[in-house]
């Protein structure tokens, strides 16, 4: 990993609102395949669209769709801010 880019790596649940990020990896988990079939794949660009109150689900914009995930599922997506 290049040091000066390090701060830009995070998991999707830590993304700031309306900032685009690219998915680098989907962590191994029983839910990995479910995320991938929805289109959460390495190389895709996502952006946090909305967060439900009290650390509720997070809605991400992926291509033209808004998809809601729980914080736990979002933390499976390793992303890099653009």
């Amino acid at each position: 990993m290049i040091p000066e880019l390090a701060h830009k790596f995070m998991t999707a649940d830590q993304l700031p609102l309306l900032k685009q990020a690219i998915i680098r990896e989907v962590k191994d988990s029983p839910l990995r395949i479910n995320l991938m079939e929805l289109g959460f794949l390495p190389g895709k660009i996502i952006c946090l669209h909305h967060v439900a109150p009290a650390s509720g689900p997070m809605a991400f914009l992926l291509e033209e769709t808004i998809l809601a995930l729980r914080k736990n599922e979002a933390s499976l997506l390793e992303v890099q801010l653009l």
């Binding site: 309306l18 685009q20 029983p30 839910l31 990995r32 395949i33 479910n34 995320l35 991938m36 079939e37 929805l38 289109g39 794949l41 390495p42 190389g43 952006c47 669209h49 909305h50 439900a52 109150p53 009290a54 650390s55 509720g56 689900p57 809605a59 914009l61 291509e63 033209e64 769709t65 808004i66 998809l67 809601a68 995930l69 729980r70 736990n72 599922e73």
Partner: protein, 711 residues
Amino acid sequence: MSDPIKSTAIKSPKVAIIGNPNVGKSTIFNQLTGLNQKIGNYPGVTVDKKTGVMNHEGSTYQLIDLPGTYSLYPNSEDEIIAHRVLNQQSEIEKPEYVLMVIDSLQLSRGLFLASQLIDLGLNLALVLNMSDLAEKKKIDIKGFELFKALGVPILHTDARASKGLDQIKDLIHQRNFAKPMEFLKVSEYLDPALLIDVKEKFGLATDYQAYQLLRFGLKDRGLSPEKRTWIADKLASISVNLEAAQLEETKLRYRKITEIIEKVVIKKDAIPPTTNKLDKAFLHPVFGYVIFGAILLLIFQAIFAWASVPMDMIDGFFAQMAGWASSNLPEGVLTSLIAEGIIPGIGGVVIFIPQIAMLFGFLAILEDTGYMSRVVFMMDRWMKPFGLHGKSIVPLVSGVACAIPGVMAARNIGNWKEKIITIMVTPLMSCSARLPVYIILIGLVVPDEMLFGFFNLQALALLGLYVLGVVGVLFTSFGLKSILKTTEKSYLMVELPSYRTPRWKDVLMTMYSKSYTFVTEAGKVILAISIILWVLASYGPPAQMDAIRAERDQQIEQAQSPEEIEIIEVEASSRLLESSFIGIMGHAIEPAIRPLGYDWKIGIALITSFAAREVFVSTIATIYSIEGDPEDDLTIREKLNSQINPNTGEKTFNLPTAFSLMVFYAFAMQCMSTLAIVYRETKGWKWPLIQTVYMTILAYVSALITYQILS
């Protein structure tokens, strides 16, 4: 009209329609088939099987509307069905052609499923729907390039505006489907040698079919046990990680699709991401919930106001029919069975239709506008700690009107445990059938006075009962959460679709199909229980029953006026009920219900109202020999107020007993229609029985505590 399905069953080709959720697939199906639709069942699952007939230029086609799915990986019952039908394991359901609907804005996700269909070796055509939205967003899809890349015929449509539907009809009519080359060879992620015997055993044409069957066959309970054992043995004999192969397959597929999309999609200008204005309001941390509450209030207002009219008409109609039957058919057991058992039994099923249809109509509107998934999004956080899912909110709020549509709506919850918990607790929400019981009893014991000059005491008591229902739901689901075990991981992955105006035709179709399912599936059980209850209430030890009847007839003969005859008849029917088998049962359970403050007369009402809670009122009217219109609250109230409990010497319906009864009705199952629908939705008697037992215990204990504290 002749039934086109039967007359041309052999010749008319079958076309399956498939697509991701929210792509307008059902709109296309509805527009192609019109009202020529049938709703049936797939064996082993609760998914509705929607088939229809399309007539075009003198030919007929059978259309199957498959449930929406993102892939052929079967995660939910819906997806298992898509998997089963398309893998062609069942000869009856095997479609000759497959029409896949893709949202033009979600091309890559749509193509993922499309590429799987290609590899199954299906005769395929693609419909790129919602072309209007794509145009608005300045996305241009080159259909011909896509055709060249996939080898599958492509159509552009805008189904909401009915654009392109004639082309779909022509395409089907001209059999313009294609079976292209494999999209992704199985050999790229799995050794095809492993699949040779699978192909042989099941008579499959392609490697991908064999791989799908091996990977997911065990999830499909529609397969014969022999085949399932074979698959299990085969899986045990190989040492390949099929899950890893599936991940690899997913990656490779999307990689190829991305390459194709780069060639066929032209985005004219990229629009920076912004938050939708409507979402700002509907998902607001405070106003979002306020708006949701207001919408619910509006819906319930509408249901209570509008459903009561057809419900009263149905009620009146069946009462008249029963009256007509008993006065016009020859006197005897059969007539009495028809007039007092079967006709009210059918009436008891039909009476629910207005509520079910209206509730599902509203739910369909909320769903179709895209609002419902926002509610799921907002509520998930609050449901999760109780072992429920964001999607449980729909059944629970439906339960305030009626538990039946609520339980039916639980079907959308994918996780088994969360679905069962939701079904188990939904009947604890105070439904509209409890209202007559609450209103009579509150009117009896709670003074119509103001507290602090502001709160009406009776209204407060009623509100308290609704709150009690919600508390019961949370308490029970929390308990079930720790009891039920599952290896399934709970997750939330829902699409928040763009806001759109609802398609009224689809809303009407939903109202029709849900009511139809209820009547045909639950109706049988409800009718059966009604007849059993009728037998128990009309028969007893013959000697006693005959004696009462003889005495009645004798008294009637000596009577002077019609009023006197009415009094005699009312009193006789009270005594007949007391001597019937149900009456005997009421006496028998008295020791058990005495600590709750009830006498045997209430015991009888508890048993008869197992059919439906509102029966409590009419039974009470019969057993206390209340003359006149039993629907008139005031007559009943006066009569009940004067009843003395022989055990205590006090008023039967004093404050402790009335509250104990209301708490009992808040929690007890007391609704055979709910029981029947739970039986249907869980495919067996295990869960409805567990539910009845736990709710009865909960009701008993809570009523006991209430009575002991208040008295």
